[in-house]
């Protein structure tokens, strides 16, 4: 009952004209970001971050959230029409979505993707509304040892759930944590790893690193890939799915929503992983698995629902614990900090307007996106006709100006360049660079928690096993490491079947 009252308060905020306008702008930008190759949701949010500095924090976070879940919707369009995933979570949609386009059924595929995304987004917002406050209340019992254990568990979970090798993921996470060590040590005032560059005293910012690793490196990787494909442009009348399509999609959408939300709350590139797992589950449960890959509508409905639900699920630990589960929520946390809001378990109590306004805006955003992604699909498809040779120079300019604007500091632009080169090289060599961004954000929290824990225990590590919550997390961490080692690989065979194991 209290939640519903709070939600009504949230709608009173979310339905004010200024919030509606910014939620709409966020959804439109997100849809574009999701559609255009070369700009993922992460780079999109990072580039938009400086534009939120002059805004009210509630408006700013709603705008950025709109970009995030808008990208999840938009990513499906290029996947279905052109077999180009606008962002990583849409990779699985390419398989059956594009096969449907080749069969002249692009309309129903787009419609089911939009309907599935809408249902999943709405259902998972209900989950966020009830789960986040409960989790925040529980997290009030957390002290430094619990936080240290939770952060370590999160990093290992990210590595375990990844599509890349676990050792490579852990290496990337450690590189990110090391980057987070640059700057003045908060506890002793020592300057570390700055090599005389004064600007590095405040540490390496998340935005230049993220824009370099994801935005600039993506452009470098696609430098020869001047896609000449002309997308199909379905009319509104062609969008209507048949009764059979709807019947076949109901269960995958429901399963994808639940699965996606649960996976979203776990650290990792949740929206990407959830779509892989959902596709695997649907194929396994189908009476005709041979249809998958040849235009099965379940192969569109499940993954599209899952990646949208995961996008919302990722906000649960971010808002309830103040802990990002991936680089996107890490940038959004940075946005909160810039606005003077301290993330953590007390955020929901101290900033009810922000939390409930945010929840309400997600309901509104899902309706906006459904409207954007069905009747206006033709308009968005026209944007895909802009030649890539004109598009990517403009994206590079946005990277440059977006990074510079954060602190009006040209050092950040140089950091972006270095991160872009590193991201290009690492991605060519098969490394997933997402853990670098996550490590960078988690580093100060992890270091402070570990050092405070040791100080509390007068220098004994037993503090991590004497407290029940910390012990549980440490045991879960040990289980993950055990499952990842060779003798236990057979127990984690689900990763292989879900397409999560490359080696």
């Amino acid at each position: 009952m209290e939640a519903l009252q709070n939600l009504l308060h949230g709608f009173a905020i979310g339905l004010t004209p200024s919030i509606l306008v910014y939620a709409f702008i966020g959804c439109v930008i997100g849809t574009l970001v999701g559609m255009l190759p070369g700009v993922g949701p992460l780079a999109g949010i990072s580039l938009l971050l400086p534009a939120t500095f002059g805004l009210n924090p509630v408006v700013g976070i709603i705008l950025l959230a709109g970009v995030y879940y808008g990208a999840m919707y938009g990513g499906s369009t290029t996947s279905i029409l052109m077999r180009i995933p606008g962002e990583a979570a849409s990779v699985m949609t390419c398989v059956d979505g594009y096969a449907m386009t080749q069969q002249g059924r692009a309309g129903p595929a787009l419609a089911i993707a939009a309907i599935g995304s809408f249902v999943a987004g709405t259902v998972s917002t209900v989950g966020l509304m009830f789960l986040a406050p409960a989790l925040a209340e529980f997290a009030l019992r957390f002290g430094p040892p619990e936080y240290a254990a939770l952060l370590l568990f999160g990093i290992f979970m990210l590595a375990y759930m990844s599509t890349s090798s676990m050792s490579k993921m852990l290496a990337m996470a450690v590189v990110g944590l090391l980057l987070g060590m640059i700057g003045i040590d908060a506890m002793t005032g020592h300057t570390r790893f700055t090599f005389g560059v004064v600007s590095l005293g405040d540490g390496v910012g998340i935005v230049p690193v993220v824009v370099g690793l994801f935005g600039l490196s993506e452009i470098l990787l696609t430098a020869t890939d001047n896609a000449k494909a002309r997308p199909a442009k379905p009319s509104l009348s062609q969008l209507m799915p048949t009764r059979q399509d709807l019947l076949e999609s109901v269960a995958p959408i429901a399963r994808g929503s639940l699965l996606g939300f649960l996976i979203g709350t776990i650290p990792g590139s949740a929206h990407v992983i959830s779509s892989f797992i959902s596709y695997g589950v649907e194929k396994k449960l189908s009476a005709h698995p041979e249809r998958f890959g040849k235009g099965a509508i379940e192969g569109v409905a499940g993954p599209e629902s899952a990646n949208n639900a995961a996008a919302t699920g990722a906000f649960v630990p971010m808002l309830a614990l103040g802990i990002p589960t991936g680089p996107i929520t890490a940038v959004m946390l940075a946005a909160l900090i810039v606005h003077g809001i301290t993330p953590g378990p007390t955020l929901i109590q101290e900033q009810p307007t922000l939390f409930w306004g945010f929840v309400a805006s997600m309901y509104i955003g899902n309706v906006v996106l459904l409207i954007l992604n069905l009747p206006m699909i033709g308009l968005f498809v026209n944007l895909l006709r802009i030649p890539y040779s004109y598009l990517y120079p403009c994206i590079i300019c946005f990277c440059l100006v977006g990074v510079y604007c954060v602190q009006n500091n040209v050092v950040d632009v140089w950091i972006t360049l270095v991160a872009g080169i590193a991201g290009y090289g690492l991605r060519k060599l098969g490394y997933d660079v997402a853990p670098i961004a996550l490590g960078l954000v988690l580093a100060p929290m992890l270091e402070l928690s570990v050092r405070q824990s040791l100080a509390m225990s007068a220098g004994t590590y037993s503090i991590f096993i004497e407290r029940p919550i910390a012990l549980t997390l440490i045991l879960a961490l040990a289980l993950l490491i055990a499952l990842a080692t060779r003798p236990f690989r057979s127990l984690s065979g689900w990763r292989k079947s879900a397409g999560l194991m490359s080696e």
Binding site: A51, A171, L178, M181, R192, P393, I396, L400, V410, K428
Partner: protein, 136 residues
Amino acid sequence: MLLLALFVLWQNLSYPLGNLAEPGAGFVPLFLGLALAAVSMVIIFGGGSSRSLKVIGWAEAPRVVLILAAFAGAAFALERVGYRLTIFGLLVFLIGVVERKPVIPTATAAIGFSALTYFVFVHLLEVQLPRGPWGL
């Protein structure tokens, strides 16, 4: 990666480690350096299953170098010649020189984009952008 770990450990020698009850500035970086060295060794010894550098295609490399050079040039010029001239120059180089597009579309895109984004960022979003010696 191993070299990076060794470099971190070497650099970390200059920071105090403290003790367990009162960890110093070098305490956590030491653990991270050791962790990176350990994981790097695992990757090196497990490297037999990875693709060799020759198998990975590098066809885009010449264009990558040009794009990076353009970006570095823009970073150098941004505060010296101002936002609009930098963006104009960057777009002319990338569209006209790298992509070899005709002069008129290149100039239109470069002038239009630099002027429009300047207007949006400075006048609508009230973001400060550097101006050059001629107020551009």
